[in-house]
């Protein structure tokens, strides 16, 4: 009996939500389509996985053969492209200021002479360090060219001295370095940025959905109606009879206008009409004045002596069923895109998916908690934005966690995204054994359950305070 009551609450709540989403295209878009578009958009932005041909300039004051070789090497480097030769420093500076080029390589006057006389012949790279990404890539590229040039010059010098070419290469660099990038070896930006930005954005969107799904019931003063609806069929029939149906935007305007004129300013009237929650009930439209009875009907429902926690919990699960379904599906897509060519163990993908699902659910509940805590959808959304929007910056992906200032580390540790991305990178990119990431999964699971309980408790509190509903 009790079990059927709980499943009834779940099903009724899901049906309530389904009808709402059906009638409100904006909300349906937020729940279903925007997350899908976001996943695809981010993947598309980074579809060119390598940065190539960054424009640089060259000032060649030497014009010798080695200098020409240097220019050729620079242009041949996959990350660089010599946009133009400049003849004065001022010209080059203006080009940098206009962002025609991001760096200029200066080959000094005595470059060839120094090389011929076995002296050190430096190249000078002036790089626009304000553009950090561009600057880093250009520095590495030009550094490589300088290294190649050096090797060529020295090995030739040693051969001239009579050394065998193979010996010369060793003598040039007695201890060479093999640089190996253990994971993400091709420095693929799609792997590095897109696959971590997507969960970050889904986290933001899920918190917004979490705040909105319960927050609009508070704003529209429908929370009691919702609970009544999921708790018993009786309450549903009583309530729905009082709600006028299917009134279009313009009609609602005139309806509320007439309410204003008649001097009977009843907040519930406007709510029920404007917000189209009315769509839930029978199509028989009633006069705005008659809906005023709502007030008297709703309060007893909301202050029902027994708000059953089990019913409330299952009702909440039902209310968030559609967002969970949508975000669960798009999470599969996100992980499918993020799975690199090299095989990732299916257990790793499964663990990551579990982590992402938990992150999504946790985000829903967190959004709901901020909204219920403040009794205001607007405040819930403000808190959501404040916490989730910059969380990627604190997560330690672009700027490493170990370099984050100590005080900010506490904030970073408190963000669920930080932990999920740690798991994501370990499992999807570093091929770590699943066991290493299990503590993160447990942590996310515990946080999700706690947040869910807290949401239910706060909903109970909100039901007990109908006088605070309707805050904007």
């Amino acid at each position: 009996m009790r079990l059927t009551q709980l499943s009834e609450a779940f099903i009724r709540s899901a049906a309530y939500e389904r009808r709402f989403l059906h009638k409100n295209p904006w909300d349906l878009t937020m729940v279903v389509w925007i997350p899908l578009l976001t996943v695809l958009l981010i993947w598309w932005i980074f579809s060119q996985t390598q940065i190539t041909n960054l424009p640089i300039g060259v000032i060649d004051q030497d014009n010798g053969p080695v200098a020409n070789t240097a220019v050729r090497y620079l242009d041949a480097s996959p990350t660089l492209s010599v946009r133009q030769m400049y003849y004065s420093a001022a010209e080059a500076e203006a080009a940098i200021l206009q962002r025609d080029i991001y760096a200029v390589v200066i080959i000094p006057e005595d470059f060839s002479r120094n090389i011929l006389s076995s002296k050190s012949a430096p190249l000078i790279l002036q790089v626009n360090a304000q553009y950090g990404t561009h600057s880093g890539i250009i520095q590495t590229g030009v550094q490589a060219v300088a290294g190649t040039l050096s090797a060529g010059v020295e090995i030739q010098r040693l051969i001239k001295q009579g050394m065998a070419p193979s010996q010369a290469a060793i003598a040039y660099s007695p201890i060479s370095i093999q640089r190996i990038s253990l994971f993400n070896a091709a420095t693929d930006y799609q792997q590095f940025l897109a696959s971590t930005v997507i969960p970050a954005l889904l986290h933001i969107l899920a918190m917004v959905i979490g705040a909105t799904t319960i927050g609009r019931e508070l704003r529209d003063k429908q929370l009691g109606h919702w609970y009544g609806f999921i708790a018993s069929a009786q309450a549903y029939d009583n309530l729905s009879g009082n709600i006028s149906a299917n009134i279009s935007d313009s009609a609602s305007a005139s309806a509320s206008a007439s309410a204003n004129i008649s001097g009977n300013v009843n907040n519930n009237v406007a709510d029920n009409t404007v917000q189209k929650i009315a769509a839930l009930s029978q199509p028989a439209a009633k006069l705005p004045n008659s809906t005023a009875k709502d007030n008297t009907n709703q309060k007893p429902v909301s202050t029902l002596p027994s708000v059953h926690m089990g019913v409330l919990l299952f009702g909440l699960l039902g209310k968030y069923f559609w967002p969970m379904l949508a975000y669960g599906l798009w999470s599969i897509l996100a992980l499918w895109l993020a799975t690199p060519q090299e095989s990732v163990a299916s257990s790793a993908v499964f663990a990551t998916y579990l982590g992402l699902l938990l992150l999504m659910m946790l985000s829903f509940w967190l959004g709901a908690i901020f909204t219920l805590g403040s009794f205001s959808l607007r405040m819930g959304l403000s808190a959501t934005g404040f916490i989730s929007a910059p969380s990627y910056a604190f997560a330690g992906v672009t700027f490493p966690y170990i370099a984050i200032s100590d005080s900010a580390k506490h904030w970073s540790d408190a963000l669920p995204l930080t932990h999920y991305l740690k798991l994501h990178i370990a499992q999807m990119q570093m091929q770590a054994p699943v066991a290493i990431s299990l503590p993160i999964l447990y942590g996310l699971a515990i946080a999700t359950v706690v947040a869910m309980m807290l949401t239910a408790l706060l909903t109970k509190r909100a039901l007990a305070h109908p006088e605070r509903w309707g805050a904007r």
């Binding site: 304000q130 561009h134 030009v142 060793i170 990038s181 993400n184 907040n267 490493p400 170990i402 904007r472």
Partner: protein, 396 residues
């Protein structure tokens, strides 16, 4: 009509004709902004908090003392020299591991960011003039860390390698100082311009500030217009709209000055290279964003919707702006579409003026683009006004 707060209710009860004139509309907007907690929070308080909050993780600016591992399988004088040089590097913080497996496990556990393997027989190979190499294994999953690990080890090993070379050259009869000079025939001298310390915060925060300014102003404006729409107070004359836009952009302009004059100063970012140009930029940027906000408000038609739709959009907008990611690497379609967002010209223009010190003529494209966007948004606003209010036009 949904009630906002008690003072808003009062307005609902006596529907008033919308204010029409420029100045009346200007002051009405200011009054409504300051009467509404939600809009004050979004328009004024949020950007000020973000001015402190966003630069917070980057306060150390440069990544140093990255924890790394060393697996020394050679255990010779030479390998110990390499280890000593590596641990002396300010970029690295070294730890010894017995074998590669334990080093790898430390990477997975996020204890180290990479490690170097010195193979056995290194010293012997070097002494007998055979090819010898060490391996540096960085974690490609984290770009910035990987660069640090590679560079730190590279410097340590190159120094030792150069030492070996010099010793050999000297042994072969070369004069020591000449040999030392030859360590690298073509050294590279890198001169970082503008952001001279190459700090991460100094790179990212000036650009993100423009995103913050845009998003808070967009959300606040759309929230205000959406609220007015719910109260059916959204309609006004063209000069009325101009008054509203002026009021909102004035407040946002002041916040922009807070960033330029104070927030950047506080964090010691490069700033104020062309202050007059920067202020002119804000004078154009704020109205452009405010006009877009009005447009979005008329589209969203609900108080909270601007936040629901706009909160997540900051990151994608940042990535298509061309600042953190070169714009010509974007798909062609996105390269065009991105120009409909104010931050696309704005981030680069602001950085070029304020951080790099470009002249106004050098950023003319950005100014033209912002002016064109403003004209486009305003034309759409005027069209929407005409399209949405046929009844009012007949009456008047």
């Amino acid at each position: 009509m949904p009630p906002l707060s008690t003072d808003h209710n009062a307005k609902v009860t006596q529907p008033q004709p919308p204010v029409q004139g420029f100045f009346a509309s200007f002051f009405q907007t200011l009054t409504d902004v300051f009467k509404d907690k939600g809009i004050v929070l979004m328009l004024i308080i949020a950007p000020i908090i973000y001015g402190f909050f966003y630069p917070w993780p980057y306060s150390s600016e440069v990544v140093n003392h990255v924890p790394v591992g060393i697996v020394d399988k050679d255990n010779s004088d030479l390998s110990r020299t390499i280890v000593r040089y590596a641990s002396a590097s300010p970029q690295l913080d070294t730890r010894r591991f017995l074998d590669e497996q334990s080093a790898k496990e430390a990477i997975w556990a996020d204890e180290i960011a990479g490690y170097m393997v010195i193979p056995s027989g290194l010293e012997q190979n070097v002494l007998s003039g055979k090819a010898a190499s060490v391996s540096v294994l960085g974690n490609g999953g984290y770009f910035l860390l990987n660069k640090n690990v590679q560079m730190g080890f590279l410097k340590a090993v190159s120094t030792v390698s150069a030492g070996v070379k010099i010793k050999k050259s000297v042994a072969q009869g070369a004069y020591a100082p000449t040999a030392a000079q030859n360590a690298q025939a073509v050294p590279l001298q890198i001169v970082p311009l503008y952001n001279q310390t190459e700090g991460y915060g100094a790179y990212v925060v000036p650009a993100v500030s423009i995103i913050i300014l845009q998003q808070t102003l967009l959300m606040a404006t759309a929230m205000l217009i959406g609220t007015w729409y719910e109260q059916r107070r959204h309609q006004t004359s063209i000069s009325g709209w101009l008054g509203r836009i002026t009021a909102l952009s004035t407040l946002s302009f002041l916040i922009g000055c807070f960033y330029y004059g104070w927030a950047f100063e506080l964090h010691h970012y490069p700033r104020g290279q062309n202050m007059l140009g920067s202020l002119l930029f804000l004078l154009l940027f704020c109205p452009t964003v405010a006009t877009l906000g009005c447009l979005l408000g008329l589209w969203f038609r609900q108080r909270e919707r601007s936040m629901q739709i706009l909160i997540f959009s900051s990151l994608p907008m940042f990535f298509v702006s061309g600042y953190p990611w070169p714009a010509d690497q974007l798909p062609t379609f996105l390269q065009i579409v991105r120009w409909f967002i104010p931050t696309t010209p704005a981030i680069n223009t602001s950085v070029q003026l304020n951080q790099m010190g470009a002249s106004i003529s050098q950023v003319a494209t950005g100014f033209y683009a912002l002016a064109a966007l403003w004209a486009l948004y305003f034309a759409l606003l005027v069209w929407l006004r005409w399209y949405n209010a046929p009844k009012r036009r007949q009456v008047s």
